[in-house]
Structure formats: structure tokens, C-alpha cells
């Protein structure tokens, strides 16, 4: 029997997710928003592995495998888009990238 109950892992994951959400909502720098999104993905991964352990089912670990691959693909494309945006507009500040507004 493990001495750490599952609710501790889930609360930690919720806390990390909440911190990531705050970061994604309040930062102006596009890269920092991206970092917060990676934090949220990690919190989700932690939840999946914790539940996989509790239910004795390996499916959770497999889903984490796929989430990591998708996160890598998303990071690559997102950063490439940031580079393209920077070349065109010379800024990453999301407050100033509002060409499509209104």
C-alpha cells in the first residue's frame, strides 16, 4: 500500500493546472503564455498517471504518451508561428497582435 493517498496527487495536479491557467490569462508575452499551457498539459498528465495507478489500468499511461507527442507537435508549430508573426509585426506582445479584432 502506498503511503501517499491519490487525492494528494490530484490536488497537486489541480494546483499546477490553476497556476498554469492564471499564467495563460495574465501574461502579455506570447512565449510565457505558451509556457503556462505546457504547465497545464503537465498537470493533466499527472492526473492521468495518478488515476492509472489507482485503477491498476495502463490506459492512463498510454494516453500520457500520446499527450506528450501532441504537446511536442503543438510546441513546434506554435513557436514557428511565433517566429513568423514576429517577422511580420516585430512584437510578441499579445495585446498588440489584434489585427483581426472588431
Amino acid at each position: 500500500m502506498s503511503s501517499v493517498p491519490i487525492s494528494w496527487y490530484l490536488m497537486l495536479a489541480a494546483l499546477l493546472f490553476a497556476i498554469g491557467t492564471v499564467g495563460a490569462l495574465t501574461r502579455r508575452n506570447g512565449i510565457s503564455i505558451f509556457l503556462s499551457i505546457e504547465l497545464m498539459l503537465n498537470a493533466a498528465n499527472l492526473t492521468l498517471v495518478a488515476f492509472s495507478r489507482q485503477m491498476g489500468d495502463r490506459t492512463g499511461q498510454l494516453i500520457v504518451f500520446f499527450v506528450m507527442a501532441v504537446a511536442a507537435a503543438e510546441a513546434a508549430v506554435g513557436l514557428a508561428l511565433f517566429i513568423a508573426v514576429f517577422r511580420a509585426r516585430r512584437t510578441i506582445d499579445v495585446n498588440r497582435l489584434n489585427l483581426m479584432r472588431g
Binding site: 489541480a14 495574465t26 502579455r28 503556462s36 498528465n45 495518478a50 517566429i83
Partner: protein, 190 residues
């Protein structure tokens, strides 16, 4: 012992994630993300997924964050300035909102009690079991993710390229007047 390790790395993960979200310099935020990813990898190992822990370090900390650092240095991003007055209220809304979120989650689990984790079976931890499941039950998602990565590589390469006929002549193809000049020079020489 396990509780001790969990508490240390959980605290480390929370502190470094706070630094990621709050520090003004993007390079410091990225390095704190590495610490967070490392702590989460240790927690994966504690939860009986050592393969995922190693993968986390290999993929996330060893490749994705390096990509972030590259882009930060390529774009020469400076520290963020102070938030303008109008946006400071956003933080006062976001933080209580986040706390309510945690509170709700916590409430769910305190109500349900704290069920203990099942003991680690060698079957759950085994790499062979994971690999077998990946290549038999989950073969279709595996292939689709491979395709997704291919699409991402192509997309990233195309998105980050300079336009070939950029007005400032910075494209990978040489400008037409330069090509004409070189051709004329080569033809002039006997």
C-alpha cells in the same frame, strides 16, 4: 520515505511553476519550467510509470524547452515591462478564480475520503506491457500521432521560413537583378 519524496518534489513543482508564471524574464521562466518538468517526472516514477518519467525528461525537458529557449534567444525577447494599469485588475480576478477552482476540486476529494493507491504491481510498471499495449490495442492512435508529428514538422518548417521573394532580398532564392548581373559577368568572360 515515499511521503517525504512526494512532499519535496510537490513543493518544488509548485514553487517553480509559480516562478514560471510570475517571473518577468522569459529565460528564467523557461528554466523554472525545466525544474517543474523534472519534479513531475520524479512524481511519475513515484506513481509507477518510470518509462513516462524518462520520456518526460527526454522529450519535454530535453527538446521542447530547448526549442523555447532557442526561439527566445532568436527573437531576443526582453523582460516584460510592468503591466499597464488597465490590465492589473485581471490578476485580481484570475487569482481568486484559480483559488475557487482548487477549492472545488479539494472539496470533491475531501468528501470522498482519500482512497489509498493500489500497490504497484510489476505488470503495471513493466515496460513490455506498455509497449505491447501500444502496438496492439493502440496501434491506430500510434500511427496517427506519427502522422501528426510529420505534419507538425512540415508545418513548422514552412511557417518559419522567410518568403522566397521578400522585398528586402532576404529570401533563400537570389534576387533577379543579382542573378542577371552574375550571368552577364560570366558571359562576358571568354
Amino acid at each position: 520515505m515515499e511521503t517525504f519524496i512526494f512532499l519535496i518534489f510537490a513543493a518544488l513543482a509548485v514553487v517553480s511553476s509559480l516562478v514560471v508564471v510570475m517571473h518577468r524574464s522569459p529565460v528564467y521562466a523557461t528554466m523554472s519550467l525545466v525544474v517543474t518538468l523534472f519534479s513531475v517526472a520524479v512524481l511519475f516514477v513515484l506513481l509507477g510509470a518510470p518509462f513516462l518519467g524518462a520520456l518526460q525528461i527526454l522529450i519535454y525537458a530535453g527538446a521542447i524547452v530547448v526549442l523555447f529557449l532557442f526561439v527566445i534567444m532568436l527573437l531576443n525577447l526582453q523582460k516584460e515591462g510592468e503591466a499597464a494599469g488597465r490590465w492589473r485588475g485581471q490578476l485580481w480576478v484570475a487569482i481568486p478564480g484559480a483559488l475557487i477552482f482548487i477549492g472545488m476540486v479539494g472539496l470533491v476529494f475531501w468528501r470522498q475520503g482519500a482512497p489509498d493507491l493500489q500497490p504497484l504491481t510489476p505488470d503495471l510498471v513493466s515496460l513490455k506491457g506498455l509497449a505491447t499495449a501500444l502496438f496492439t490495442d493502440y496501434l491506430l492512435p500510434f500511427e496517427i500521432v506519427g502522422l501528426l508529428l510529420l505534419v507538425a514538422v512540415i508545418g513548422a518548417t514552412v511557417a518559419a521560413r522567410r518568403a522566397p521573394d521578400a522585398a528586402d532580398g532576404s529570401g533563400p532564392l537570389p534576387r533577379e537583378d543579382f542573378v542577371a548581373e552574375e550571368t552577364a559577368r560570366k558571359e562576358a568572360r571568354p
